[in-house]
Amino acid sequence: MAFNWFKYSSPQTFYPLAGRLVPFFAVLAAVLGAIGLYIGFFVAPTDFQQGEAYRIIFIHVPAAWMSMFIYLVMAAWAALGLILNTRLSSMMATALAPTGALMTFLALWTGALWGKPMWGTWWAWDARMTSELILLFLYIGFMALQASIDDPRRADKAGAILALVGAVNVPIIYFSVKWWNTLHQGASISVGRSPSMASTMLLGMLVMALAYWMYSIAVTLMRVRSIILERERNTQWVRDLPGAPA
């Protein structure tokens, strides 16, 4: 099947496509989120050592996964923008950053709420937590750097370089619990090993992870639509949009 992918690489054609996709992902996010939370809070069994308090895992772990994954996707879009000079790629990178920062903040915050009753401390400077905090600073730095440069093309370039440099941090976060001894426990789910979790707990977590995915896609598409309108406001096709000021 000959499908022209490049057709949607221009902001003008991507704008209506993104608009049609948003409700689809938003509805999926709401439904999966409701199912995931229901499994997490009512179906999944109590944990043998942490009791009910472990249930924050259904919020914490998917947020931490997303925080790392969104960064890699953002860096990949930024790299594409840098290499191919496509406007839309850089806009995607810009649109992903706030959601990534939100996920990172959520992971850190729920981690602190979980750490206090279980470990006995809100925060410890171990490798996992410190590298995740650096990830938050990278997201904030990316947004601040882009916002501080008026010329969008130069802002994209500077942001892309920062995003690519920061990508080194993601494997460090992921493998930190393996490479060094940390207060944070190791991964419950990893490739090549059966998960060390009861199956309903695992199911709840995976459904929640999917819900986070759908949410992230929906809000990123909404955000990229705003960025497209803002940057292309002087073009004819934006002026021709229904509802545009005359």
């Binding site: 944990d47 043998f48 000079n85 009753p117």
Partner: protein, 160 residues
């Protein structure tokens, strides 16, 4: 070579160089990135003696003693090879248990006792309902028991 191929090579090369640099730096700082020292490292004098550090391991089974004053506790941290006695006055976290992970921050005094200022519980990555944990525990005990019987049977069979 088109200019976008050149840029691709630049980006890929840059990321690769950065990755290698990061790997080398982390490797060089390997010993400074530990959150805690194990009792074996303490025994091998790898832990600092003049300043405070963290020690981590398992709370040795049956080693927890409450002192008469009610707030001071004594326990032994072990990594199954070596162990270090710990003295701590304060509230222990909920997950603190004999046989479970612990990280304590404090100073190793001249008498060989680790005086902790802060004690944190370190739990593992296993999540399961209590019934499953019980079943696992029973299975382990049963296996242990059957091994012992086997050994004893064999001992009986060996002619003296």
């Amino acid at each position: 070579m088109k200019s976008r191929h050149k840029r691709l090579a630049l980006v890929a090369g840059g990321v690769a160089v950065l990755g290698i640099a990061a790997a080398l730096i982390l490797n060089a700082f390997q010993s400074n990135l530990v959150f805690f020292y194990s009792p074996s490292q303490v025994a091998a004098h790898e832990a600092p003696h003049d300043r405070s550090f963290r020690i981590g391991g398992l709370v040795e089974q049956g080693s927890l003693q409450r002192q008469p004053d009610g707030v001071t506790v004594r326990f032994v941290v072990t990594d199954t090879a070596k162990s270090v006695p710990v003295l701590y006055a304060g509230i222990l976290p909920d997950l603190f248990k004999e046989g479970k992970g612990v990280v304590a921050q404090g100073k190793l005094e001249a008498d060989g006792v680790f005086h902790a200022r802060e004690v944190l519980a370190k739990h593992d990555e296993n999540y399961m309902p209590p019934e499953a944990a019980d079943a696992l525990e029973k299975a382990r005990k049963a296996e242990h028991e059957s091994q012992r019987t086997l050994v004893m049977e064999r001992a009986k069979e060996t002619p003296k």
